[in-house]
Point group: C2
């Protein structure tokens, strides 16, 4: 008989590794359990013997990895009697906070940078019923304001400075280990606020400590060149990049991420906007996987380091794709100038257009 | 030890129930395995004792249920030596065809109705590298042209008239049965081309025939009032609805769907655009689940039939949410007029806006 327990989200699944009680009311949308997809065409075309996977976090309920942390943060906020959550966001956190707050029946306040948020993310925060405050400033200023406001207002911060967020996010590493039956040799992530790379390292370290595996990956964090404080060795004040999800100059997990680099013998590197968009397009055209620009930073960097041999032949490599491409349709369409052919609804012109393009 | 086989898509999982061989090259993006989410707040608020679930098919790789059929259709097309696929589409089929063709390394031609396709879907077809033909006509005209063109051009049709499509799609019923340990009492679906309701019935019937369960659901198909040939009892020529994914007047699975209604003792009904959008908003605001407008047709109809008692108290009900809300950000934002508050990046105005909305 093929019956199996209904999948009810990552807290239920990893209950014994997360800070919840037997009677905790779980706020879940079935997050986690995302596919680890092996790339076929890109490794073959680049001619390197690499076992290359993407962890497609865009298939979480709100379309990004943030849901892994948000189910924990909102569950704990509700347990503590909180009636409202707040976050600063480049878009994905606000979408996730708005959705989980709706599921919990509490209020959500989100601060987003005016004009610098992808269309899909804005739609999400709005339709889930969050109070959307568009500030005349960037993410870092929003983050500062959220901390100030929360000091004397009854709202719980659900940015990744909320420690429960990283607890939830560490489960992505658990899933990868369970499917590969070991940790990969390298794990590549886009780095903005630097919470996710820290959370993955927590997860890998926990499975090592508990004897489930005997290895951990080297962690590689790639930043957009215009928003690369880890490369500059200092916070920066005016970050800018097409990869809006990592347009952050003052990462909140600064210390944690440096420790990950040290502890894993990993490294940070940067990618230009052109490299990021090229990797996004390569992945959609060659593998059929559509991620948002920021997500492609992990692949852009990995491919460069594979090509140079810094990631040596024979390695297993996982790239995290943080968000779905549908989050940012405008940037995708801008990459495809001249991509649509308008024709009359008649056989002649349709057949002509097809035959011409079949050649 | 928590190791488990890496999930590699629904063909690998249901290999013995699908028309593939041991040496078939599977074209997969890790589709299927979508969450069946139990609604909490909506049943409580409507005061009916109903076990109500949504099958969130928007969490397939390209954001819609079409991927279940497309992995089969493209796998078989490649097995047969085909070098190009073609479809007519209101958007989701073209996104899926483009993605799976990219993964397979073959060409995709998609015919979409000019100006009547949601932004996210257009972005998908374009960035995956499909040849996008925007025809001055609707889906039904596109479908007719696709059939004509395929007669003397070396392209394989991957619309749901391709029999492998429904084979793949039937697996959604398998998953529901496996998680509920029985079939639900009622299964509600949006009906456009009518392939999906037919595929679900195939899946339910197969598990019944093989003795895995001893029940099947009553199948309910809801259409948008402006595109409701099953309600009119005849094809219609100028369908119109905000639910663009089911803006179809000449359903290709016409005969099949009538047989489903008869065989399952089910029914068809219709929902107005206002009811559809209201259900979409209700689901996002009360449960944190964002689907595209067409998807909400299943919930809109189900809630009405639950309220009237046509779906009796004590029933288990599954509503299929066919596509993710991110497919159509514009329609979502139009539902949220006045939803964004612009403020300076300073504590005073931010705190004021929050305190005002906390009250």
């Amino acid at each position: 008989m093929p019956f199996r327990p209904r999948y009810t989200g990552l807290i239920d699944k990893y209950r014994d590794r997360l800070p919840v009680h037997d009677d905790t009311r779980i706020i879940s949308l079935g997050e986690g359990n995302t596919p680890l997809i092996r790339l076929n065409n890109i490794p073959r075309e680049c001619g390197r013997d690499i076992d290359l996977y993407v962890k497609y976090e865009g298939l979480n309920p709100t379309g990004s990895f943030k849901d892994r942390g948000m189910t924990m943060a909102v569950t704990k906020a509700v347990e503590d009697g909180c009636k409202a959550v707040i976050c600063a966001s480049t878009g994905n956190t606000s979408a996730s906070a708005a959705a989980y707050a709706a599921r919990a029946g509490i209020a959500a306040f989100v601060l987003i940078p005016e004009g610098k948020i992808a269309l899909g993310k804005l739609a999400q925060a709005m339709i889930h019923g969050a109070v959307v405050l568009q500030i005349r400033g960037n993410f870092d200023e929003g983050m500062r304001l959220v901390k100030e406001v929360a000091q004397n207002t009854p709202v719980t911060i659900v940015n990744s400075i909320n420690p429960f967020r990283l607890q939830g996010q560490k489960t992505a590493a658990f899933e990868i280990i369970e499917e590969l039956e070991r940790a990969p040799d390298f794990h590549c992530l886009p780095v903005g606020n630097a919470g996710n790379i820290s959370a993955h390292w927590m997860g890998y370290s926990e499975y090592l400590e508990h004897g489930i595996v005997n290895n951990r990956p080297r962690m590689i964090g790639y930043q957009a060149s215009g928003a690369a404080p880890f490369l500059r060795g200092a916070m920066i004040d005016n970050p800018d990049t097409v990869a809006t999800a990592i347009r952050i100059g003052h990462p909140q997990s600064w210390e944690l991420a440096w420790k990950v680099r040290e502890g894993s013998d990993g490294w940070f590197d940067e990618c230009s906007d052109e490299e990021i968009l090229a990797a996004q397009k390569l992945l959609t055209e060659k593998e059929g996987i559509f991620c948002e620009p920021a997500s492609a930073t992990s692949l852009a960097g990995a491919l460069r380091d594979i090509d140079s041999g810094k990631i040596p032949a024979g390695s297993s490599v996982v790239c995290t794709l943080t968000g779905h491409g549908l989050k940012d349709p405008d940037t995708a369409i801008r990459q495809c100038a001249g991509g649509v052919i308008s024709v009359d609804a008649a056989l002649g012109p349709v057949r002509d257009a097809i035959v011409e393009n079949l050649a």
